[in-house]
């Protein structure tokens, strides 16, 4: 477990592409640089979609793990 302070938890369990990416983007828009969102997703595509999104937008994925069939990401706004 990471001890990074999480500013917002975003649970997109049960939702498919494009929602996890869109909701992450909309949540990040409201945060200040340095703040962290924890995203929970069950869409199998999110495993590669979120890193691609982060790479494209310049935000950082601090942690990515799989937990009981869910993908959990810690994403920091740049």
């Amino acid at each position: 477990m990471s001890n990074t302070a999480v500013a917002q938890v975003l649970d997109t369990s049960g939702e498919l592409c494009p929602l996890p990416v869109i909701k992450t983007k909309l949540a990040m828009d409201k945060l200040a640089p340095g703040q962290v969102v924890q995203l929970i997703a069950t869409d199998p595509g999110s495993k590669s979609d979120l890193p691609s999104w982060a790479n494209s937008t310049g935000n950082s994925i601090l942690e990515a793990r799989e937990e009981q069939g869910k993908f959990v990401f810690l994403i920091q706004k740049t």
Binding site: G14, C17, P18, V21, K25, S56, T57
Partner: protein, 184 residues
């Protein structure tokens, strides 16, 4: 093996100041990433791909525009949007595969549409109107094709609020500056 003449160092041929400016300009030009999509089909199943790509592109920080042409114009037509359907004819991948001869029966298209909407709902897929709302929230440019409007008798008031209008040249000018262009 042939030997190649050493290539001249480009920077040494150019005025350093000019080289720096060219370098800067080139990188500035690639900073904006743009996706230009054409939506040409007026069926429920074919409305999804351009809208999913557009919302995702915008969420990834890319500029995105969709040109709605021919039957694709129905997607941004307020009067037609609710009536988008899935046809089981010539569609072996329809929710329930139907022999074409049965697909002709009145009600087959209605049934295929009903089943697809139910499947989408069960998977919590956003509806087409919801995706269009997201597009506009994310500043995706929605362009209605004026030629199609003329041919099919569609007025500007029939289209969603906030759409732009344009023809082939408008789209091509927009697409010429895009790194990704797809025709759906």
């Amino acid at each position: 093996m042939t030997t190649t003449a050493p290539r001249p160092d480009l920077a040494s041929l150019l005025d350093p100041e000019l080289f720096r400016r060219l370098h800067e300009e080139t990188h500035k030009a690639t900073e904006i990433r743009r996706v230009a999509l054409v939506a040409s089909k007026g069926t429920l199943d074919m409305a999804y791909p351009p809208l999913i790509l557009a919302t995702t592109a915008a969420a990834m920080g890319m500029e995105c525009g969709i040109f709605f042409t021919f039957y694709g114009l129905d997607i941004i037509n307020k009067k037609k949007l609710a009536g988008l359907k899935v046809s089981p004819i010539a569609n072996p991948a329809a929710p329930i595969p139907v022999p074409n001869i049965l697909g002709m029966i009145p009600g087959a298209t209605y049934l295929a549409t009903f089943i697809m909407k139910r499947m989408m709902g069960a998977q919590r897929m956003p509806t087409v109107p919801q995706l269009l709302d997201m597009c506009q929230q994310l500043n995706v440019k929605l362009i209605g094709c004026t030629t199609t409007m003329g041919v099919m008798g569609v007025a500007k008031e029939d289209l969603r609020d906030g759409v732009d209008l344009g023809g082939a040249a408008t789209f091509l000018d927009y697409a010429a500056k895009a790194q990704v262009t797809l025709f759906v």
